[in-house]
Assembly symmetry: C2
Homo-oligomer: 431 residues x 2
């Protein structure tokens, strides 16, 4: 039985218990969220060493790190290094988006090495194998697509991005729209090519029940991909994007009926003032399904710094209700990320998630900042480093320049907190 | 005559012309904004080589970089290097917050080397000279305070932070409040000490007319400092902070009556969901005076990455109407910033400002992103680098990993934009 089926029959599973413990919440709250479909626990029954992680309303906002090879760089060790770096930096999950080298071997190595939930986009591998087998992505057969999906399920992947909403009607809306950047989703691009070439409906949509069956068998959480997500601010919140979201809403209903856990993916590139509307729209259309956003990036112009652009958008999205933030690294739009890019991406996105958690009133979020502030006021540098989101970095930057006193080298003897402490403390009897 | 006085009598000054040209707006719009007090042009008549810069409603959100020595590090060359780095990274103004070394010499060197508007906080120098002269900051005389202010004015400082709102009643509210971090403003701390020790009112408040006279003589723009700004999220939007804002509102009225340009400073540390309220409050209380915020930082826990924390808060603040963002560097709370921290701080804050400008509908903001997106869709890497906020970084990250095709090394041959271009382009006749 899936977590959703267990929750429905009133069972609190060990996974629900573990999530409740980590979040400091009642297990019954988790169970009810799963029943309502507002919480998912991606936990493939084949992922043996998994530490369960809950995603959804009322829980800490989660962070995902994308790793994986490309057709230009296929080294498995580099990807395992990125997995380690992302884990150490505090990511909540990892997606393996490999499109180069021995894709199956890389995925299996990542799953075996990680207790974090792992996600994949099987259409990538399916498309690449189609190139090898038939000479073109678009010549893949529906059976071949599903065979790759089954392979990922068997390997223990916890959540799958499936672009079921890239339908013929979404493509018609895309053509009518006239976009600046057309489509920037790789999975979306593969399927658009397939649909146009074969003059047939998207197999992931047409045979959605087949997908649900596999998902149910392994308790795979479906993540309904946004193949039509805007690839630039000028294309944000347009008709193809919303068309796909409407389909996603219907597919959420069907997944829930089938006992399959489901979440929904979202943009992408959005002007800052579109973000809240996008979150509210998803929550309304998809009946509270967890919303998993990529960034969103609030400008197209910050190439080389898109972890910051994504942190701005992610914080606003999560504060408005987004549940799961996919990181963006400084290398986005430019290059395959290095391990250091991965680290920067995770940290920036954790800042965004935590800032949002304070605004959302997530349990314990505000308290962390208060403890940090008490340590800061005391000029207790050891405690400050310990309470920092990245203790090592905090420690290193502090020690970069020696200070002559107990304050840091920025204010030295003129530290406001130290001065005011002194003045207020003795103001009754005069300074 | 000050820019405000000129504007009132219907004159469009060369400074207003220059600002209008840079912003792509009518000079009459700038003049009217100055009359209304919603726009300021900090331009000390003694700052000979100044390129005027407008700050306020309807204009591009501006970015300030703080540099300056501390009691631990007093090297003038390092600060001039930071000035160069900040200018190259695209800051709109620089504040010299020096508290170590030969403070007057450093300030003069910075003003002489910069065509950007320069700001200072004269109470720092006044306090430090009081330590040298009398053995304690709190023993400074009001005349000594004003003498330093006059010196800064004569040197050509364009805008002055003056903590006039740190009054006896604000201190009473501070004591009643019971804060976690008390006061983190250095100027605020100096003045609180002075007020408590001397059992007298803040000279910058009590002799505000004297301050206005100096400001009017040099067309110094006053920046009403927030000595009571919250130093942590737990203290945000509390009674001492709002008390000081109420006083600032009254002082804005008086400055305008005296023909003096004025803006108002704001937090600091704010939970994400407090930011918009803080901006609206300032705009209402201070009758639309330009709002100059520090960050705001949306969590206390990200020491070592506060440029990102500040970019999140700054983007939200500016989108809500804040006009001027003071950067925060990665070294904030830990150490005096190095030139590389300065660069990171400026870039992060420029991202925030630009993201907000798109949301606010500032002229030309959206168009920049669109041009970038067109270049991205064309896979025109040279044009993308040119249009990037930091062209050099964009170029370098792109070249870090060679790609086998025209796309970057992240997606390689499976670049969505290239694939969809092909599929959509030939879909009429089949792929």
């Amino acid at each position: 039985m899936t977590q959703l089926e267990l929750a429905r029959e009133g069972t609190i599973s060990p996974q629900m218990e573990a999530v409740a413990l980590k979040e400091g919440l009642e297990a019954e709250f988790i169970r009810q969220g799963i029943v309502a479909g507002t919480i998912v626990i991606p936990a493939n029954i084949k992922h043996a060493n998994l530490t369960p992680c809950g995603i959804g309303q009322g829980l800490r906002t989660k962070v995902n790190a994308n790793i994986g090879t490309s057709s230009d760089f296929g080294n498995i060790d580099t990807e395992l290094e990125k997995l380690r770096v992302a884990t150490d930096a505090g990511t909540d999950s990892v997606m393996d988006l490999s499109t180069g080298g021995d894709i199956s071997a890389i995925r299996r190595a990542i799953i075996a090495s990680s207790s974090l939930p792992i996600g994949t986009v099987p259409i990538y591998q399916a498309g690449i194998e189609a190139v090898e087998r038939h000479g073109a992505i678009i010549k893949i057969t529906p059976d071949e697509m599903f065979s790759v999906i089954e392979e990922h399920a068997r390997d223990g992947v916890d959540f799958l991005t499936v672009h079921c909403g890239v339908t013929q009607s979404a493509i018609a809306r895309l053509k009518e729209q006239g976009r600046v950047a057309d489509v920037v989703s790789r999975g979306g691009a593969f399927l658009i090519g397939w649909i146009l070439y074969n003059e047939a409906e998207n197999p992931l949509f047409e045979q959605y029940d087949r997908l649900l069956e596999i998902a149910r068998d392994y308790d795979l959480t479906l993540s309904l991909g946004d193949g039509m997500r805007p690839g630039c601010l000028a294309d944000a919140t347009d008709r193809p994007q919303v068309e796909e979201l409407l389909v996603a809403g219907e597919l959420v209903d069907r997944a829930r009926r089938a006992g399959v856990q489901v979440m929904v993916e979202g943009p992408g590139h959005l002007p800052l003032d579109h973000i809240e509307a996008n979150v509210k729209l998803e929550k309304a259309i998809c009946k509270g399904a967890p919303f998993y956003v990529l960034g969103p990036l609030v400008t197209d112009t910050a190439a080389g710094y898109d972890h910051i652009t994504g942190a701005i958008g992610g914080a606003i999205a999560a504060a408005a209700g987004a549940d799961f933030l996919c990181y963006v690294t400084p290398a986005e739009h430019l290059s395959l990320p290095d391990p250091e890019d991965v680290r920067q991406g995770v940290i920036a996105t954790r800042i965004a998630a935590h800032a949002a958690d304070i605004a959302k009133g997530v349990k314990g979020a505000e308290d962390w900042d208060k403890r940090m502030s008490v340590a800061r006021k005391k000029l207790d540098w050891e405690e400050q480093a310990k309470l920092s989101l990245d203790p090592q970095q905090s420690h290193q930057v502090h020690l970069r320049h020696a200070s002559s006193g107990t304050a840091c080298s920025m204010c030295g003897q003129f530290c406001a907190m130290a001065l005011v402490e002194k003045y207020l403390g003795i103001s009754a009897t005069r300074c």
